[in-house]
C-alpha cells in the first residue's frame, strides 16, 4: 500500500465522517413535523377524524423507554400519558371534565398540527355559506353559542325563548304533538344572526369530531344539558324488522322505506323537558350501532 493510497483512503474516510456528522446534526436540529398531504379532502370532517384517531393512538401507544429520558422526565411523561388515557376512557362514561380535556386536545391538534385555519375550516362545516348548513350544523352552532352564555341551561333557554315546547301541528299529522322541526331550527338560526370567530368555528368542528369519535353522537351535547332525559331509537321501525321484510321480498314496502315514507327507529331523538317529551325530528343516529353506543350507558327518566 503506497503512501498516496493511504492518504486517499484517509481523505475518503474523512469525507464520509463529515457527511455522516452533518446528516446527524441536521436531523437533530430539524423540527419534527408530521407531514400532512394537502388535497381537496384534507379539511373535511372525515379526514380530520382519521387524523385525530391516528394521532391520539400514536400518543397513547408511544414507548417512552425508547426515547432515552432521565428518570424524572420519564416519571412525568408516564404520568401525563396515564392522564390522557384516563381522560379518553372517562369521557366515554360521560365525565364532563374528561370530555373537555379531550376536546381541548383535539382543538390544539387541529389548530397547531393539522393546520386548520380561517381559510379552510369551511370545508368541514360550511360556515361561510349558511344555505349549505344542515339542520344539525345549525343546531350545533346554536347550542354552542347558548352554552357559552347559559352553560348547561342552554337547551332550556333556547326552548323557552322560542317556545319550542308548545303543542303544534306538523304537515302530514292529524294530531298536534311536541316536536322541534328542521324548519324551526333554521328560523331560529336566521333570527339569532350569529357571527362566529375562528375559535368558535373550530370549537363547533371539534365538538362534531368528538361526538363521532368518542361522544354520544347526536345526543352528545343534549345529554349534558339540564333536561329530564333523552331517548333514542324509538321513532319507528328497527333495522332488524326492515331486514326481515326484505327476506319476504315485499318490494313495495321496501320501496316506501327507501323513500323515507316509513319512519325508522333512528330517525329522531326524544328529550324529556319539563315533563314534556319533545321529538327532535332532524337528528338521525344514522345506524343502530350509534344508537347502541349513544344510549348503552344512559337511563331514561320519565
Amino acid at each position: 500500500m503506497t503512501i498516496s493510497n493511504i492518504i486517499l483512503s484517509l481523505v475518503v474516510l474523512g469525507l464520509m465522517g463529515a457527511v455522516i456528522y452533518y446528516y446527524i446534526n441536521s436531523k437533530k436540529n430539524a423540527e419534527v413535523v408530521t407531514e400532512i398531504d394537502v388535497d381537496d379532502k384534507t379539511y373535511t370532517l372525515e379526514k380530520m377524524i382519521e387524523f385525530i384517531k391516528r394521532r391520539l393512538d400514536e400518543i397513547t401507544k408511544v414507548n417512552l423507554y425508547d426515547i432515552g429520558l432521565s428518570e424524572e422526565e420519564l416519571k412525568r411523561r408516564k404520568s401525563k400519558k396515564y392522564e390522557l388515557k384516563k381522560a379518553l376512557k372517562g369521557c366515554t362514561y360521560g365525565d364532563v371534565n374528561d370530555k373537555k380535556y379531550v376536546k381541548e386536545l383535539i382543538f390544539d391538534l387541529l389548530a397547531k398540527e393539522y393546520g386548520v385555519s380561517e381559510m379552510n375550516i369551511s370545508k368541514a362545516i360550511p360556515f361561510d355559506v349558511p344555505s349549505l348548513l344542515t339542520a344539525q350544523d345549525k343546531f350545533d352552532i346554536l347550542i354552542y353559542i347558548y352554552k357559552r352564555e347559559f352553560g348547561y341551561e342552554a337547551l332550556g333557554e333556547l326552548i323557552n325563548k322560542y317556545k319550542l315546547d308548545e303543542f303544534k301541528y306538523i304537515q302530514g299529522e292529524t294530531k298536534p304533538c311536541y316536536v322541534i322541526t328542521e324548519e324551526e331550527i333554521s328560523d331560529i338560526y336566521e333570527k339569532e344572526n350569529i357571527v362566529l370567530s375562528f375559535t368558535d368555528k373550530l370549537n363547533v368542528v371539534v365538538q362534531r369530531i368528538y361526538q363521532q369519535y368518542k361522544g354520544y353522537s347526536s345526543i352528545d351535547e343534549v345529554r349534558d344539558m339540564n333536561i329530564d332525559g333523552v331517548s333514542g331509537g324509538v321513532s319507528g321501525l328497527p333495522e332488524s324488522f326492515i331486514s326481515q321484510v326484505a327476506q319476504t321480498d315485499s318490494t313495495d314496502y321496501l320501496a316506501q322505506i327507501q323513500e323515507h315514507k316509513v319512519q325508522r327507529a333512528c330517525d329522531s331523538i326524544w328529550i324529556m323537558f319539563h315533563r314534556k317529551i319533545n321529538s327532535y325530528g332532524m337528528f338521525i343516529f344514522w345506524n343502530r350501532s350509534r344508537i347502541k353506543k349513544g344510549l348503552s350507558k344512559y337511563i331514561q327518566i320519565q
Binding site: K27, K28, N29, A30, E31, V32, V33, T34, E58, I59, V62, N63, D66, I67, G68, E72, E73, R76, R77, S79, K80, K81, E83, L84, A87, N97, D98, K100, Y101, K103, E104, L105, D108, L109, K112, E113
Partner: protein
Amino acid sequence: MSIVTFWNNNKEQCGSTSSCIAVATQMAIEHNMKILLMSTSLNDSLMKDCFWHEKKSRLSGLFGPNTSFVDQNGIEGLDRVIRSNKVSPNIIKDYTKVVLTDRLEILLSLNGEKSQYEAIQQKFSQIMLLANQYYDMVIVDLDKNLNFNIKEEILKNSDLIITLLSQRQKEIEKIMNEREQEKIIRKRNSLYAIGKYVKESKYNVKNISRNILKQRQTINVIPYNHLFFEASQEGNVLDLFLNFLRLNDQADENYQFFNEIKSLSKQINERIKELSQILE
C-alpha cells in the same frame, strides 16, 4: 408551605427575575425544602436559559412519533389541563422542570399568543395556591405586564412579598410612601431589596438608610455580578452557586454577592416563620 412573590413596580428593570432565580437556587442548595419557582411572563426564556442549554435534539422524532403536544411542560402544558378544570396539586408537578430533584423545580412561562396569555393569567393565582399544597415554598416571579387585578390577586394571596427597587432616590421614596399608605402591599408581609446594586454609587445602602429611609435598619441588596449574568445565559447558574459555596475571601465580590443572597433568603425564612406564628 408559603408563597413568596418577587415583583417590581418600576418601569426600570431591577433584575427581579434574576433575583428570584438566585434566591430560589440558594435556598434549594442550602435548605432541605421543596421549592417551586413559577414564572408569570409571556415568551420569556430567562428562567429556562439559567438552568438549561437549548436542547435541539428531538430523539422522539427519530425513534418514535411526535408526542410533543401532550408532553409540553410549563404553563403552556398546564393550560389545557386548566381549561378542562382538571388541575390538582399532583398534576402541577408533572408540568414542572426539575433543576434539583426534590429541591427545586420550575414552572416555565407561556410561549404562545397574547390571547392565550390573557386567558391563562386568570388562573395564575389558582395554580399558585394549588402548588402551595404540594411544595414547601412557591416563589413567584410576578411579571409587570400582567393585568392589574391579577397582580393584586397574586399579591393578596402571597405570604411574603419581595419588592425590588432600583437604586434611584426618587423610586425608593415613592415605594416607601406607597408602603406607608398600604396602597398595594402591607408593611407586615413585605421586604425590600435593591436589585442590580452597585456599592460604589453615592446611593449605597448606608446613605439610603440614613437619608432616604431615615431608619437604622438596612435594606437588602442584590449586587450586580457579572459571573451570575453570564451563567444565566449559559445554563450554568446551578454550577455557579455550588462553586460559590466554597468561597471564603470576604473581599471577593462573588463572595459578597452570594452573602447578600444568603442574607435575603435567611430574612425570608425568618419573616415567614414570624408570620406563621402570628397567624397561629
